[in-house]
Structures are given as C-alpha cells and as structure tokens.
C-alpha cells in the first residue's frame, strides 16, 4: 500500500498544497488500492481512472501555474450511484436505469469537484436507496471489509465500505432513513447526514423527497467538516435547499466538549439494543463526560412510532417519485410492447427489483382511496409529534445520543426474506429524517470484532455543535484509527 493511501483528506490536501505530492500521484495510489481490494469488497459499480487522472493532471497544471490549492485539492472521492457525475452513468443500483447517462450533474458533486476533489468512481447501493444492507442492489452485494460474510449496511453500503477499506478517504452518500449513518456505523467510519435542505438535492435521484439528504463519509470529523464546507449552502437549482447561513465549520473542530449537554432517551433504548453494543454506547458516553460533557436523560415518547411513520411516509413519496420510470424518457424499455399501458407495466416489471416493488405497493396502498387518512395522513401527523418531541428535548440538551444501530453488521442473507426485520434495523436513524435534523455516526469500538457506531443528533442547522461534539469525541478516543483486515 502506497504511503499516500490511508491518509486523511486534510493530510492529502496539505501535501498537495505544499507540492509534496501531485494530485496525479494521489489519484494513482488510490486507483491502485481500489484495484487491489475491490475484488474482495465489491464497493464500486464503476471505477473511472481516465476521468480521475485527467482531472488530477489538470489540477496539477493549475497549481504549477500558481493557482491557490482549493480546500479538497487532490482528495479522491467515491460517489454513491444515486448522484449524477458528469460523463459517468447513473443506475441507482437498478436495472431500469441500465445504460442511463444523465445529461446534467449533481450540485453536490460539482461543488466537491470545484473544491478540488477527484471523483474515482460510483459506489454500490440498495436499488433506489431502498434497503439497509446493499443486498437489494440489482448488480451485486457489497461485502463488509471487517467480515466478508456480513453486510456493509445500506443503502450507501458501497461508499461506507470504500472509505473503511482505505480505497478513498472521502465518499458521498445519501440518507433517507439512515442510509449514511447506518452503513458508517457497520463499516467503522464516520458519516454525516446534514439538516434537510443543507445540501442541494439537484442531481440526487429522488426516493422520498421530504426525507432525502446527501452527505459525506470520512474517517475523521475534521474531514467531514472539510467536505461539509464545500457541500453546504443554497442552490438556485433546488428551491428547497436552505438559505440559512453556513457557519465556519473548521472553527467547530477547535472547540471542546466542555459544557456540552448530551441527552439520552434511555426509555427508548432499553428495549432492544444488543448487550455488547449497549456497552460500547455507555463507554462512549463516559468518554464524552471525561471530555467535559454532561449526560442526562431526555424523553422522546413518540420514537417507538417512528419506524411505522417512516415506512408509510417514505413509501408513499417513493410510489409517486418512481412513477417516472415508465420506459418512455430514459432507462430500459420492455421490448415489443405494442400498447402503452403494457409498455409501462412490462418495463417496470422487468426493470424494478422486489424491494422497490414492495415499497411502491405499500406506498400506493397508503395513498389510495379509503386508506389515505388512516395511513399516510396519520403518519404525517405522527411526524409532527416526533418533531415536537425533539424540540422539547433540545430545550434541555445540545445533542441527543443513541447507538446508531441496535446490533453490529448482520450476515449476508440473514434478513432478505423478512422485510419487517430489515426495516427494524433503522430504528435509531429514521427519527432524524422525519424531524429533518442533522445526525452524525462515529466509530465507537468493536463488538466481537465488528464496528458499531455512536449516533449524535442536533437541532436543525446546528451542524456546528454536532461536529464540535464529534471532534471532541475523536480527540478523547481512538476508535476511528482502527482499520479492517482487508
């Protein structure tokens, strides 16, 4: 493994800015690493060496001509296959988008590239981000770098595994119900789900629009802050992207946990966190306390209803968003359909996988005449109750802490036959999406050799506090330095 591989994004940027390494050398080292370990991990759907090296050389030429090094100069980044990258295909892990080359690029990707990051490829995911294990990809499962017989989590499992296996220091994912935080936890890396609206959704393929949010994976909170600095901010191409000012996130890293009030919803946690995972969580709270934080109990009485509300709201929105895959404007069309309705039905039947169909059916049912009030509308009201729970909690604390998941990574195939069990794996992550809050997952130790995560949630648009707490936790612990055996 080259000395350039395994470095943090901030270290790579420093070397490139000091002209101690060229962007091309950095890109080549990471492409070599990908070639070496990808067969064991299957994190990528596409690796794009020519595009990466071309961009790297152009940035090197600009730096040689005296240009200032941008904040992510030369940093290799992997992009979840749900975000459009100029010149590369997007499949969203689905056969129905096989061969699709988007005629535009995602704002999130363009911002990272404008900040000097070098895209090396697109990563595997559950089809249309619907899943918690990356097994619902139409193409292949991704393996957990800590144990190849286990899932990396999902739906952004490829991005999490790529960062964990040192193929890239930075990756982009998206989080609708935990799809950044849950795989980050199960692969032992850091993941940030920003406040809904913080990062433009332009060029992010829609699953559930009121919940979807793109965000970064890295190994350190410092690198997450670096990426967030490039990603955050209003985009005229996404009118729902927030106009709230973006704070100086680098400053957050210098703060300490002194005076930080951590709230823990014990009543909710005590029903179903595996013992060892709970032990790592308690140790994490102790680490935060030793760094100067105070920990107290908060009440979030409606959280037990979050999974039910989430799966009704998310699938209802999905059933509407995925109506566009009809074989007419892009993607695959069922051949030889002579009648329009058959063309829609046959194209969708052949192009969409079982989990996507299941969610479209559930969502269409929740929206259908006679059931709308009892399911979709009621779920939206429960969403209000959950948001109010958090508003009350944040009057008494600055961050809410939970384990990111109830257990470490499960085995490949363990839950594919039982969708409800798979949905329950998201129990601690979906509340943040329902309420629109920012959330962070950080490695907090191993359970039987497998990583688990500490989840921190903060008030809307208060990523600064979240990153400050996260940086303080990483100063007090060394879990993020552990590397998987690949």
């Amino acid at each position: 493994m080259s000395g350039l591989v395994g470095l943090d994004a901030s270290e790579i940027r420093r070397l490139v800015a000091a002209r101690e390494a060229s962007c091309e050398e950095v890109a080549r080292a990471h492409l070599d690493r990908i070639a070496a370990v990808e067969p064991a991990v299957d994190a990528f759907l596409v690796v794009s060496p020519e595009r990466a090296l071309d961009r790297a050389r152009r940035l090197d030429a600009a730096l040689a001509a005296g240009a200032a090094a941008p904040p992510l100069a030369g940093v290799p980044v992997a992009v979840k296959d749900i975000l459009h990258v100029g010149g590369l295909p997007t499949t969203c892990g689905s056969r129905i988008l096989e061969g699709y080359r988007p005629p535009f690029a995602a704002t999130a990707v363009e911002r990272l590239e404008a900040a000097g990051a070098i895209v090396v490829g697109k990563t595997n995911m559950d089809e249309f981000a619907m899943g918690s294990s990356t097994e619902a990809s139409a193409w292949k499962p991704t393996r957990n770098p800590w144990d190849r017989g286990r899932v990396p989590g999902g739906s952004s499992g490829g991005s999490a595994a790529a960062v964990a296996a040192r193929m890239v220091p930075l990756a982009l994912g998206s989080d609708t119900g935990g799809s950044i935080r849950q795989p980050a936890a199960l692969c032992g890396v850091a993941g940030l789900k920003p406040t809904w609206g913080r990062v433009s959704r332009y060029g992010l393929v829609a699953y559930a629009s009121s919940l979807d949010q793109a965000g970064p994976f890295a190994r350190t909170v410092g690198d997450l802050a670096l990426a967030a600095g490039a990603l955050f901010g209003h985009d005229p191409l996404d009118s729902t992207s927030a106009t709230e000012p973006v704070p100086d996130l680098a400053r957050a890293l210098e703060g300490s946990a002194k005076g930080l009030r951590v709230g823990v919803p014990w009543a909710f946690l005590l029903q179903g966190v595996e013992d060892e995972t709970m032990a790592r969580f308690r140790e994490s709270l102790a680490a935060l306390e030793s760094a100067g934080a105070s920990v107290s109990e908060v009440s979030l009485p409606h959280l037990p209803h979050a999974i039910a509300a989430y799966y009704l709201v998310a699938t209802a929105e999905a059933s509407s968003n995925l109506a566009r895959y009809d074989g007419v404007r892009y993607g695959r069309r069922a051949p030889a359909a002579r009648e329009l309705r058959r063309l829609y039905g046959d194209s969708r039947d052949a192009g969409l996988g079982a989990e996507v169909k299941r969610r479209i059916i559930l969502g269409t049912f929740a929206l259908s005449s006679g059931y709308y009030d009892a399911y979709y509308l009621r779920a939206q009201k429960v969403r209000t109750l959950i948001r109010r729970d958090f508003e009350r909690a944040f009057a008494a604390c600055d961050v809410v802490a939970t384990p990111t998941t109830p257990t470490p990574a499960f085995r490949l195939g363990e839950k594919t036959g039982d969708p409800l069990q798979m949905y329950l794996a998201d129990i601690f992550t979906v509340p943040a999406n329902l309420a629109g809050l920012p959330g962070l997952s950080l490695p907090c130790g191993l359970v039987r050799g497998l990583p688990v995560g500490l989840q921190l949630l903060a008030r809307s648009f208060d990523e600064e506090t979240l990153l400050r707490a996260g940086a303080a936790f990483q100063k007090a612990t060394r879990h993020h330095e552990l590397a998987p055996p690949v």
Binding site: R101, P102, P103, F104, T195, W196, G197, S209, P236, S239, T240, P304, H305, I307, A308, A309, L312, S319, A323, G327, V328, R329, Y330, G331, R332, R333, A337, R338, E339, L340, R341, L343, Y344, G345, D346, R348, D349, A354, K357, I360, I361, L362, T364, F365, S368, A374, L377, R378, Q380, K381, V382, R383, T384, L385, R387, L420, L434, A435, G436, S460
Partner: protein
C-alpha cells in the same frame, strides 16, 4: 386493520402500473399485512389536534417565475429508449 389479499395487491399494482406475477402478489399480500399490523400502533395515538407535517421546512420555497435555460433537447432525447423528430416515441394511443 384492513385485510390485505392478493386481490388488494392486484388493485394497488394496477394503480402503480405494475403487473406482478401471481407469486409476487401473494408474497406481497402476506408481507404487507405483516407490515401494516406492525404499523397498527399509530392508530392508538390521539392526533386529532395535530397538523400533518409534509416536509421539514417552516416556510414555503417559492421563487420568482423567470425563464431560464433548461437542458438541451438533443441531450435529453439521447437517453430515450426511442425518439423521433425531437419527440419521445411510444406505441400509438389514439385511433387504430
């Protein structure tokens, strides 16, 4: 709780423009019933005075309605399974 049968799934699938095989209809009916039974806990909550939340924004997201450049037609049509004369091509829907 409503009983979810293969016929319910068939009706919903038609609304969603999915055909589904007989086996899929039966599997989905069973799984849907299981998921809805689990979601039954929502029915016990008193939400009579609670407004629904459609998204996390407090205000609207309106912008001025000003014309601007869109995507290039040729680039968009390049992605179509079938296109002709600057249009998407589909099977005939009117007349015979």
């Amino acid at each position: 709780m409503p009983r979810v049968t293969a016929a319910t799934v068939e009706h919903v699938a038609r609304l969603a423009r999915l055909s589904l095989t007989e086996e899929e209809r039966e599997t989905f009916a069973r799984q849907l019933e299981e998921i809805l039974a689990w979601a039954e806990s929502l029915q016990a909550l008193d939400v009579s005075d609670v407004p629904p939340m459609s998204h996390p924004r407090d205000g609207g997201a309106l912008r001025d309605d000003e014309p601007r450049e869109g995507l290039l037609r040729e680039r968009v049509l390049e992605q179509a399974p079938e296109a002709a004369n600057g249009l998407f091509r589909v099977p005939r829907v009117i007349g015979g």
